[in-house]
Symmetry: D2
Subunit: 346 residues, 4 copies
């Protein structure tokens, strides 16, 4: 609010949902100012034509990346498609700080990257340098990073449910099942039949089942790292007829009280991660449009088993809100700046 410095921000790939969400959030940020917006295929258009909901804002017109003047820019958000991102970031001025919202720098291991994404990485040196952007668990590295890799939205939700349990060693590492229900905006503004209202609104289904969803690469990397051994979880995402929201239902083997305690301890001082009282589970309706994540635990009737549920908004805490939280750290701004708006309900 009263910060002395204004930080100038560029958003590359501003014509997609995460780009628009960045603009929405920055419009309410006390010390960020949008200096440039790019969208190669819509260069020359006003942002309000692509996204009429931003009509009230005075924004720079969209331009091609090559036409962006990065000289006066303090931080760049890359909201470009996977693969495009690495090629673009490789060419950006090397003194600019970058938060990438694509999948390109989430996996550190080039082999893991190739396994999940099918191609060689075009910027392996940056891959090694990039910091994994799950803010609550990588704060110190993020503060000093030049390049932060935003997490997958599903990967974020699953990790909020499970990381403290793995760190605290309160669950069986070989018996974790993540059943995830994702709203449709996570699929982006892409035109596919199963994203049409007529097909989705009264139909829901599993996709990328059997261990083929790319966000598994992040679970593998992060869970194994903190466990100090290989951890492989079972993961089935489902597409749900709602716009925003991810609900993770994680099935774990462990003492429910210990599970709850591990979560409470881990998140006691977190401004955005709220643990619901033991036995109460969160709903996506209570985090919509916000940077909050609610996490809850219920013990099962079968002894030694628990269900952990986490809910967040895929576009905010799962993507663009997380990106701004990371940018706040990188620029020395208060971590919560621009992110404390309450969810929109109903």
């Amino acid at each position: 609010m009263n910060s002395e410095t204004t930080h100038r921000i560029a958003i590359l790939g501003a014509s997609g949902y995460t780009g628009a969400e960045l603009v929405r959030l920055i419009a309410g940020h006390p010390s960020f100012e949008i200096a440039a917006l790019s969208a190669d295929r819509k260069a020359g258009m006003e942002m309000s034509r692509v996204f009429p909901f931003l009509r009230h804002l005075d924004l720079p017109a969209l331009r091609r990346i090559d036409d962006v003047d990065f000289g006066s820019v303090d931080l760049i958000f890359c909201a470009l498609p996977h693969k495009t991102s690495q090629e673009v970031i490789r060419e950006l001025p090397s003194d600019k700080r970058i938060v990438d919202l694509s999948a390109d720098f989430r996996l550190r291991d080039p082999d893991a990257y190739k396994l999940w994404y099918g191609n060689d990485h075009a910027a392996e040196e940056l891959q090694a340098e990039a910091v994994y952007g799950l803010t609550e668990f990588h704060r110190d590295e993020i503060r000093t990073a030049r390049l932060v890799a935003g997490t997958g939205c599903n990967a974020a939700a699953g990790q909020y449910a499970l990381r403290p349990l793995i760190e605290a060693r309160v669950v069986d590492l070989d018996e974790i099942v993540i059943d995830l229900k994702a709203a449709v905006s996570g699929a982006g503004r892409s035109l596919r039949e199963n994203l049409l209202h007529a097909e989705l609104s009264e139909g829901y289904h599993a996709y990328a089942a059997g261990g083929t969803h790319r966000h598994l690469g992040e679970f593998d990397q992060e869970f194994s790292r903190i466990a100090g051994r290989e951890v492989r979880v079972q993961f089935t995402p489902h597409l749900i007829p709602a716009n925003r929201g991810i609900l993770v239902t994680a099935y774990v083997k462990g003492d429910p009280a210990a599970v709850f305690s591990a979560l409470e301890t881990a998140y006691a001082d977190e401004p955005f991660i709220l643990v619901t009282p033991m036995g109460e589970l969160p709903s996506t309706r209570d985090v919509r449009g916000s940077n909050f994540c609610h996490v809850g635990v219920v013990g099962d009737r079968i002894g030694g088993r628990a269900v952990v549920v986490a809910a967040l908004d895929n576009l905010t805490k799962g993507s663009s809100g997380q990106a701004i939280q990371n940018a706040n750290l990188m620029l020395g701004v208060e971590e919560t700046a621009g992110l404390m708006a309450a969810p929109v309900f109903p």
Copy 2:
């Protein structure tokens, strides 16, 4: 239409969703005729006032149960609330055949009933006599039963995914997790805040988590019976912003090929249970308004694990369609009569 005999049908509790669904289906049944409709609190009203979508039909007005003339009725559908049903059925003429859609006669064991429903059963003798109405697995008993207990809609969906696997002994009986996503009509026409469009349409959540949902009583009873030992599954239902549909995602430990083969074998001759090709999973959008259930299997990347998904319409195959399928058997009509209408998509 052209069958020689017309069977006269009474529906008790016709002012709820399952009652209305029975009327909808019977309107297209070749040899059923609606003789009486009851709804105590709406007695005297025309059905078309309670359900304008039935306006085109010439139906008897709603009346009190006490005012129904059962003399000329061949079969009674009871679509009454739990607990009310047992009290009403106890008093019905003992020569009438009955399909009950409530939970009252699903559990054979009085102790199990009391455990899950909290009260002593008011008609224990009928409880012992009632046949569990999951048609495909109890056909012979249903044909000759006087009283058939319609299954829980969630219980039906879960059993279609899992019974053949338990019977064929291809999965670990102690490691079954059922994550279920239910559309809202399963909650009936009851007035609760979380069923309001404003609260549900952009929010979804788990409910009755931790092993407290009453349909677990059916899983316990049926799975244990066919396994010949106690089986306890983990079960978390979720409420999804859609009107009709249940999607079961069952996590099992067993060889995926054996799992698929067990399902294919079990359902090879079933008119309503369709197994999708190995690796393809069903969606609720493809069964809406119909008596079909789609079942599919995907093997997990972790060896010896599989995901089984079943989709059905809770009001049709999960409730009123099942009831008519059972009534067909009881009355010697072709089992599929009145039930082969294609799903409504989109």
Copy 3:
């Protein structure tokens, strides 16, 4: 089922929503049999891959139009895109009876066609011969027609609300306003951003406002013809976040009692058009998936004005159901055959 003759049907353009709806309805038709299904770009595919909800049916595979053997076909449904339809129909065997679901033969006047569709008609001679397919008002011509032009779904809904009023001269012809709310399946399976669930489900808007929607050509043609003078209505369609349904709210100047009486008289013997009691207005929820259309009237507090509301399902009564109703007449089958299924509610 019991009809002596089975009529063999071909559906051209079976991979769109109206094609699929034709298959759905014909699957329950007592005397129609699907002989051929075409979809040029999906030739060779099984229908169940394009539309898994039809998985239970034994259907011919999709083929190219050129590969269809029309020899044994009794009637052809053309569910092709506009403009394509006229080119295909021109080449079909001239002894085959055809129901076209596209816009190509709705307007008789070549100039009017060019005005609304922007191109010269490729089959003007057929345009002159085609019969406008609003069944209730063109029955005799339809019975003997070779080519019937299915109406626009919006045009059908508006005409059910207004034709009897114009014929009975009970409303001011220069003061008709049609405010229409259309569900999204009317836009077909086309991939457009504003049809995405994420953008539509919580947003609604007017489109083609100001008198630019092509279905106005049908209103102009039909209303002027029956009035014996030029009639021009004001018409604003809106896109609503629902899958099926059209709701017409027509504002007219005239005596409400006379308006109601004109509708009641006109539709007294119609099996599918149901007039609700004076003062009660219909809802789309009560016609979903069915061939019924509900029409109601309310008088306004301003004397001499009334609101007429009509509700129908755009894919059924507004398109494929209408097409089958017309085919029934053309083939001498009972008009209601295969079309009396109750709506699906909820």
Copy 4:
């Protein structure tokens, strides 16, 4: 933002949607602080139990109105049900400034009030004093008012579309038709069958048609006052399957260019009312969760007619956002304080 004074706010009736929306907005307001929350039937409960989406806020517990200490309160928002509100406000300390969100003080004329609401007013003296709270048109009175009456949400939307046209005398005052499409949260958290997801989500309908909706009283009062003669519009609201949003489609007779010009002129300096370019119409998706209202005009093909469309969020600009905008004026705070958050899309 950094204003020196903090204003202490009480919200009476905090357990409904408008109460919760007030809390949501005040949580982001730079100089408002919530001093008390009341809800008689939920007294003693934490707000986070009634509305878990507010879990992150440190809020006073709900209490009975009688237990609220108004001594230190600067302004009271009354979000109570109609009729209750007048009885409560009558008893509030007479030196407190009040913004009432109910219908109780919208109509100045006691006879008009009785006509539309059916009862005598319990606080006629306050009725005369109250200022009608459509901010943009009553700013000066609102600044000095003790009691401001928030408008009906539908009434607000209709007036934003039409007031400048009536003031500028560019439309025929006897030929105005307002066709309105309202999302469901406008009906509040009340439990009614037609608000259930199962019944609403795939069904939409007109309600209170024929001139019986109470917001007509506001149109009559305001339009007649500014026209200097009696104005009676035709008005049909519809319930649409969406959570937030009102879309007004107003049919007027007048020169489209003059209509557009009147709107542009009237709203040129308004921060919240945005006129879209001539020929472009707004959508509810673009104002969701915000205090913005978009207004657009299209000329009809029939000369001398135009369609004016206005879109706003019923809970924000139509109710709680408007209330805060008025409170800002009353307390000498910048009018836009706490209200500039961008809409949430998608």
